[in-house]
């Protein structure tokens, strides 16, 4: 029983990490048709900015409120980088989908190399607040607090995103734009303004994933974003592009599947099961759990 609880909660922790990366990816793809390979870079930027802020920004630090401030710096940095990327690199290629993918590919290669040039290729120890190094006993299982922190953060982000999409005018524009972008402009709305915002939101969520992922893994390295990105892509496709709720369901499915199979089967088998799940979902329901058709 306690193993089951442990695997469920750590699996949900992993799912939380995937969701934070995938939600932004999904919105960006759903609204702007941009398959963003640079999204992993936003995560790395968030992680490094948090790590840097913990050492340099007055008031910020590795523990307690200082860490919250450091993570906030990371999130702001991620949002800024994402917004600048959209404005400078993506926007001039508006509606040229392949070129946009190519630019984000180049950016992901160059950006990771830039981080490497600045802080080296080796993992750096990440500031971990005291509380996150401990465990909490839940139903007889000892759950790492870092997992719980991730789950709480992802739940909060999910709730905020849903409220934002449901109750604000920009949220309305985004939901409509995911359905039919052309028709939104035909109602007199400059939908491209929403692109920048969606990039910034996605960048912020990914950066938060970077900061909390740093706590979870205990270290930060330039390639960290890239390796999470593949699973985030899988989550986005399974969940349906453009659907935040779909991403949440898919993240939970992927995280739990991976954790349980990797524990009860051979290590690595869980990852393969996730890919099998992707293949099955795509063959049975090409539009994903909750999204519009991705085959268009």
């Amino acid at each position: 029983m306690s193993t089951f609880v442990l695997l469920t909660l750590t699996g949900l922790g992993l799912a939380a990490l995937y969701f934070l990366v995938a939600s932004g990816l999904s919105l960006v793809f759903g609204l702007a048709d941009v398959l963003n390979f640079a999204h992993g870079l936003f995560l790395s930027v968030g992680a490094y900015a948090t790590w840097w802020a913990a050492g340099h920004v007055p008031g910020a630090g590795p523990t307690g409120f200082g860490f919250v401030l450091a993570a906030a710096c990371g999130v702001v940095a991620g949002a800024l980088v994402a917004a600048v990327v959209e404005l400078v690199l993506i926007r001039p290629l508006y509606s040229r989908t392949i070129e946009q993918v190519l630019v984000t590919v180049g950016l992901s290669l160059a950006g990771v190399a830039l981080l490497q040039a600045t802080w080296g290729a080796d993992p750096r120890p990440f500031p971990r607040p005291e509380w996150t190094r401990n465990v909490t006993g839940i139903l007889g299982a000892q759950i790492p607090n870092a997992s719980l922190l991730l789950i709480l953060a992802a739940a909060a982000v999910l709730a905020l995103l849903l409220l934002f999409l449901r109750f604000t005018r920009v949220g309305l524009v985004i939901r409509a734009g995911v359905e039919n972008r052309e028709m939104v402009t035909a109602l007199g709305i400059d939908v491209r303004k929403a692109f920048t915002l969606v990039f910034a939101i996605g960048g912020a969520a990914a950066a938060l994933a970077g900061a909390l992922g740093g706590v979870y893994f205990g270290s930060v390295s330039p390639g960290q974003g890239g390796s999470l990105l593949i699973f985030a892509f899988i989550v986005v496709v399974i969940g349906g592009m453009g659907s935040v709720v779909g991403s949440a369901y898919a993240a939970v499915a992927v995280g739990l599947l991976q954790q349980f199979v990797n524990y009860y089967g051979t290590a690595g088998l869980g990852d393969i099961c996730v890919v099998a799940l992707l293949a099955i979902v795509l063959l049975v329901r090409p539009q994903g759990i909750a999204g519009r058709a991705v085959t268009a």
């Binding site: 290669l109 690595g268 795509l282 063959l283 991705v294």
Partner: protein
Amino acid sequence: MTQAVPLSAEAPPAATPPELGKTPRRPGWRRLLVLGPLVALVVAALLPYLQLPLPGILDGPFNTYGNLQLFATCLVFGGLAASYDLLFGRTGLLSFGHALYFAAGMYGTDVLVTRAHLPLWQAAVFTLVGATILAALLGAIALRTTGIAFAMVTLAFAQVGAILVARDFGGLTGGEEGLPIDGERLPDFLLGVGNTVNLYWLALAYVALVVFVIARVAGSPTGRVLAGLRDDERRVGVLGLDPYRYKLVAFTLAGGLASLGGVVYVLILGGANPHVTSSELTLSLLVMVVLGGPGTRWGPVLGGILYMYLDHRLTSLAADLPGPLGQPLFVLGAIFILAVYFFPGGLASLRGRVALVSAALGRRRKDETVS
């Protein structure tokens, strides 16, 4: 107020392809163009006899062990990029999993030679057949989706390959360490520093074969259907042809050619390395093709050669370069982004541009002589 315009029942005229309107002007020059690839092949084959040092471009003369290995690597990636272009540039399929078949070629050969103790030629044939069948099977699944979903599925399949190699199931692949190939099982002419030149020739033969095969395919009726798929899939469907079959043919052929490249590369490298399974390799293939010029005969080959050369060269110069310039991927990524904006046709489009410029210059010179 009423104005009657004669009714025309004809369909609007389709655009005439520009090639059809062009007549060959200088037959002598055209003949040279046909011979050009052969001449290039002979020159490339003779390069190892060149003692000339190329300061700044190479360390030492061309035929040192290191340089021959570097150029053998460049050639393999030139061929690999050309096989990827069969998908991306010629059929319009954005696959993110092409590295899988290259890795299958490497690991298949290596495992069969080193673990199963097969002679090299048998291992190579089995690997080639197996990897081609793998490409056909995975392609059959992946091609049921299109566009971005296709890209994702191929990426995910390649990820399975990376996991299988890294986790070292059954102790076959050597995991993170890689798997050095068992030299005892290899023919003598491929062994030892003195025989690196044979590896260079092998790589040259590989790239020549890939270019030849792709040129034949592109010139065939199948190639024209593939080009039609790239430009507008619906129109091919309207003609009553099944796009799925043609795409599967391209996917399988490209996978087979890539795995052959893996067979050659495992010999050059003296073993298999888990790095070739990474999605980063497929992304670099995309960079090579776009830099070189997608859908052209020589562009992807040149792009692959140049990319690997720069990657190697920048790494060896890294210590002398300031800051991020010492990171090859930073420089290559930045060049790539600039290329997407400013040279959408890649290196291959430069010839046309140069021709335009020289034509303009020539005209001006003529004007000057007249006046």
